[in-house]
Structure formats: C-alpha cells, structure tokens
C-alpha cells in the first residue's frame, strides 16, 4: 500500500529535469507492489475475517472490508475454548527455552570463537549436521524415552527438546558475531587478570547485545511455532501449546473460520510486530550479515 503511494509520489514530484520514469522503473515498482500484496495479503484477510460475523463469512459474496464489525470470535475463543490456557503454556515453554538456548549456545559459541579449542570446525560441522536431522526421525524414540521417564504431558519435555533443536542456530549465529569482535578486547581483560567466563559475561556478552536479542527472537519464534513435538508429547489443555490448540479448532458441524482467524491474529500479531521492529537485525542474523541496506 505504501508502495502504491511511493509510485504516485515518484510521478508527481519528478527530479529537477523532468523525465518520465523509464519502463523498467515502473516494472520494478509494480513487482515490489505485487510482492508486498502477496506477502501481507493473506494475513490481512485473516484479520478482516476475525472481526466479521459468521453470517457475513458464509454469504455468497465475501466482504473484503469488514462491515459490520464484531468481536464475538475473540470472546468465543477465550470464554468457550479457554484459549488463554494455550497462550500461558506456550509462553512458559518458549521463554524458558529461549533463555536456556541463549545461555548454553552463547557460552559454546564464545568457547568456539575465542578459546583454544582443537578441532573447532569439527564441532561446528557436527552442530550444523545435527541441525539437518529430520525431526520425524527423533520423535518416535524420544516418545519412548519420554514415557519411560514419565515426562509426557510436562513442560520440561518440550523445553528440553526445543533447547536441543534451537542450539545449532544460536551457536552458529553467535559464533559468527563473536568472531567479528576484535581480539584485543579479550587480551586487555586477560592482562587485567579476568578469567574466560568473566570476560564473557562482563565484556563480550554486553557488547553483543543486539546479536543476542536477535538470536533470542529467532529461537523464540521457532519454539512458539513448533507443532509436531507439542502434538506428540502433550494431550491435555494444561500443557498443550498454541499451535496444537489452533490445530484442534474444529466444530462439530462446520469449521469455525471466524474463531480460527481470531486465534491466529491473537498469536501472530505480536510476532509480526516484533519481526517488523527487529527486521534489520533478523535479516542480517538469518543471512550471516550479508544483506546490506
């Protein structure tokens, strides 16, 4: 939408010498407009759906712009389906996972980037290789282990699994970042008599805060969105996470699209806003710092 206005802007206020924008410029703006609509459109439609009454949703001609507006779907999911339980479960699991992932991952990344470890690239290669394992290959055996330990239907089983799944990404991204910090800083601290862990927690970690926040966000999103393990390992509303809750939204006689849309908006809007705020950091985190402005 803002791109549409950009195109108009561009045409109304030409540079000092009047030139009609060349055809390939127009083409680029059209492509850009298309990319934005394609990326954001489905979610905007989901938002519009969430505030339309069922009667309108079932009518022969859909209304792009919601009229009349209703909040009954939001009331439904919290009062009728106790959706807040899923949100609480997801929040507990996700925040604990993110914290542990950052703690273990950053310490490992620091050791690999900074300390004298023989065969560090073997470790990094191992971690990268493990991250390619298909998750379906571990869900069965883990279920057997989990039931032997009596860990089914607990938060801790999900936390431990998400921790291991998130660690490769955290370690790799932070490894790359720590390497970019000048070594002289460690050496100065070491001359002052600081131990490795002190250097890490007092100097390197505070210096890397932007990278740590971004990695934490990536970890958070991955854990928040995970579905298969949550589906397999939890069976009651006291431990199921949001994706499982939404997947189980089915009516007896019809699909409650309005309620589903409302639930989607509730759990996705915060993520989308966070992602838009941190977008620059996320893009450089995902692509190893290679995308320039």
């Amino acid at each position: 939408m803002s791109n549409a206005s950009n195109v108009r802007h561009f045409q109304q206020r030409p540079p000092l010498v009047f030139t009609f924008p060349s055809w390939d410029r127009v083409l680029i703006y059209l492509c850009a407009l298309f990319i934005v609509c394609w990326s954001v459109g489905p979610f905007l439609w989901q938002m519009s759906t969430s505030i339309q009454p069922d009667r309108e949703l079932m009518s022969a001609t859909p209304h792009i712009f919601p009229y009349p507006i209703t909040f009954e779907h939001f009331v439904n999911i919290f009062s009728g389906k106790s959706f807040h339980r899923y949100i609480i479960n997801s929040t507990i699991v996700t925040i604990t996972t993110t914290f542990l992932c950052l703690l273990f991952g950053s310490i490992a990344a620091y050791a690999l980037a900074r300390l004298d470890i023989r065969g560090r690239f073997a470790f990094l290669g191992f971690i990268l290789g493990v991250s390619m394992f298909p998750q379906i290959a571990i869900v069965g055996p883990l279920y057997v282990l989990g039931s032997n330990f009596g860990w089914l239907d607990t938060y801790r089983v999900l936390i431990v699994i998400y921790l291991a799944l998130g660690l490769p990404l955290v370690t790799w991204v932070l490894f790359g970042y720590f390497r970019s910090i000048p070594k002289t800083i460690d050496e100065a601290a070491r001359i002052d008599g600081a131990r490795p862990l002190t250097i890490f927690f007092r100097i390197i970690l505070p210096m890397s805060l932007p990278a740590v926040v971004t990695t934490g966000l990536l970890c958070f999103i991955a854990a928040w969105n995970e579905f298969m393990f949550a589906l397999a390992f939890t069976s009651d509303v006291n431990h199921q996470t949001v994706p499982v809750g939404i997947a189980n939204f089915t009516g007896l006689h019809y699909v409650p699209w309005g309620d589903i849309a409302a639930a989607s908006v509730v759990v996705t809007l915060p993520l989308v806003i966070m992602v838009l705020i941190f977008q620059q950091h996320i893009i450089s985190g995902l692509t190893g710092g290679a995308v320039k402005e």
């Binding site: 791109n3 950009n6 802007h9 561009f10 410029r25 680029i28 703006y29 492509c31 850009a32 990319i35 934005v36 990326s39 439609w45 989901q46 001609t61 859909p62 991952g105 310490i107 490992a108 620091y110 050791a111 470890i117 971690i127 390619m132 394992f133 298909p134 379906i136 290959a137 571990i138 069965g140 055996p141 883990l142 057997v144 039931s147 431990v160 291991a164 660690l167 001359i191 131990r195 490795p196 579905f227 298969m228 939404i246 997947a247 699209w257 589903i260 849309a261 989607s264 996705t268 993520l271 989308v272 838009l276 977008q279 893009i283 995902l286 190893g288 290679a290 995308v291 320039k292 402005e293």
Partner: protein, 312 residues
C-alpha cells in the same frame, strides 16, 4: 618495533595465563551443556531409532523382539509407503523448483535500488514469522470450497466457471499444499539469494555494461554463475526441509482426501502415534533420515565441484 615488543609481551602473557589457568579441564567444559543437549535429544534418538527399526515394538502390546530386516522387507511391499513416497518426491520437487525460481526473481527485483525497498523486505518477513499451523488454517480458509475468497476472486475475473473444492478433492489437494508452502517459504529463499547477490561486486556488472552487455546477458553471464553456490545451498536447505514436510499437510488435509496428500512424515507419524507401531514407524523414520543425509551429501559434492569451478 614497539608494536612487536608489545605483541611479544602479550603472547608470553597469554601463554602464562593459560598454563596457570584455573580452567585445567580446558575450554571444552564450556561446550558441554550444548553438546550434551544435542547429543541426548538429537544423536541418541537417531541411534535408538535405528535399533528399534530391527524390532517389532508396539506401544499397544508388550511385544518387543528382534526381527532383523523384517520391517524393511515389509516397507518395500507396502503400497501406502510408496504412495506417500511419490507424494513426497512430487511435493519436494515442485516446491523447491518454484521457490528457488520465484525467490531468485524477487531477489533480483530487491537488488535494484528503489524507494520503499526496506518496506518490501520487511513485508517479506511476515509469511516467515507466521506459525505453520496458522498458515495451514489460513490457506484452509482462503481456499475453502464453499466460501473461500480464492474461488470468489477467480470466478469474478472469469478464470473459473464453478467453485473448485481445492484441498477437498484428490486432484487439487497436493497443488494447494504446494501453493501454501511456496507462499510461506519463498520470501526466506529470496532473502538468502539477495544476500548472495549483494556479495557480488558491482564493478563486475559495471564492467560488463561498458563491454556492451544487456540486462539479460549481465544476469546470465555475470551474476548467475557467481550466484550458483548460494543458489545450490539455498535449494539444498529447501529440499531437505520440503522432504520432511509435516505441519502443513497434517493440519490442512491430514493426508487426505483418500490419501492423496499423504507424505512420508505424516505416514510415519500415523504409524508411530495412531497405530502405535514403534518398530515399523522407526524403520520409516530411519529410511527418511538416510534419504536426507544422501540428499545433503549429493548437494555437498555438487557444491564443492561448483565452488572449485568458480574459484578457478
């Protein structure tokens, strides 16, 4: 000279520090938490799965004996397995090709400088951030056979005469899943490829312009060959990911209608958790694991060869 002296001094200091370090066990200790979690949650279960694949373990009854390669033999003659296998290959091929192609096109657009580029890039992160379960439900509503807006729009512009029951009919269900996956993942591929494009120095493209190359030649002879390693890496990650697709299928169609969208992950999951056939399910997952490793290795070898070519 003074600098050299300081450096000398520092290295002796460093050596001394390490020798008298209280960290006698060495910095390996710092890797232990991470490696222990990964080992216990990722490596050990894969080995346990391999062991279970030679057994007839079920969770429904106490049977649990060693049966050798019986599970593997049973899979070869299992029609449902081959059905799921075909769908997985179809899905992986279609989604990887489409996503790499569209991703490349988007990356080329975004590598041009224009106003509002930051907004486009930010918008592209939205599909990536949305939980896959939500994506499934969202596409379920968009492509709904009765009230879906896609049917409505296609009918309004005259592309369709009647509403199509997209994921409710065996003919279109897999295609609908491919569309949903393309929507969700293309932006991510585009960002990876954009990163690759931006590492190619502008001077190369400028030089080719001076030599009289047009836009197409500039792309085909200058940027594409240099982008090949990135393209291969991106499509490898995509192929590995597409091969194990689970969430989208499980939530949107559950493998139906009439098994038309059953893929290996959903088939394995159902064997493990609906039929409770841990032994047979583990055999399936072991086969998937081996296939993924083979795909990764083929791409790896290919990539090394390409990189050597570019390097020379």
């Amino acid at each position: 000279m003074a600098v050299a002296e300081v450096q000398n001094h520092e290295t002796t200091l460093k050596r001394k520090k390490i020798r008298f370090s209280p960290w006698r066990p060495g910095p390996f200790v710092l890797l232990v938490p991470a490696l222990a979690s990964i080992g216990a949650i990722s490596v050990y279960p894969v080995l346990l799965g391999l062991w279970l694949s030679f057994r007839d373990t079920t969770l429904a009854s106490p049977t649990d004996t060693f049966i050798g390669l019986d599970n593997y033999r049973q899979i070869v003659s299992d029609g449902q397995f081959w059905n799921a296998w075909v769908h997985t290959i179809q899905f992986t091929t279609a989604s990887t090709l489409l996503e790499t192609l569209f991703g490349l096109m988007i990356a080329l657009v975004l590598s041009e400088r224009f106003r509002g580029r930051g907004i486009v890039r930010a918008a592209m992160l939205v599909p990536w951030a949305i939980p896959t379960v939500v994506t499934s439900k969202m596409f379920g509503w968009l492509f709904d056979g009765q009230n879906g807006i896609v049917n409505y729009l296609l009918r309004s512009v005259g592309l369709l005469q009647h509403s199509v029951n997209w994921y409710g009919s065996p003919d279109f269900a897999l295609a609908t899943i491919v569309i949903a996956d393309v929507w969700k993942t293309t932006p991510f591929i585009a960002l990876l490829l954009l990163a690759g494009l931006q590492t190619i120095p502008d001077s190369l493209a400028e030089a080719s312009v001076i030599d009289g190359a047009n836009a197409w030649q500039r792309f085909w002879y200058v940027r594409l060959p240099l982008l090949t390693p990135t393209l291969l890496i991106a499509s490898m990650f995509r192929a590995l990911d597409a091969f194990r697709i689970f969430d989208l299928v499980y939530v949107l169609t559950g493998g139906g209608p009439a098994d038309a969208t059953e893929v290996l992950s959903t088939f394995t999951y159902k064997n493990l958790f609906s039929a409770l056939q841990v032994g047979y399910g583990s055999t399936l997952s072991t086969i998937m694991f081996i296939t993924e490793m083979v795909i990764a290795m083929i791409f790896g070898v290919f990539l090394l060869r390409k990189m050597r070519e570019v390097g020379q």
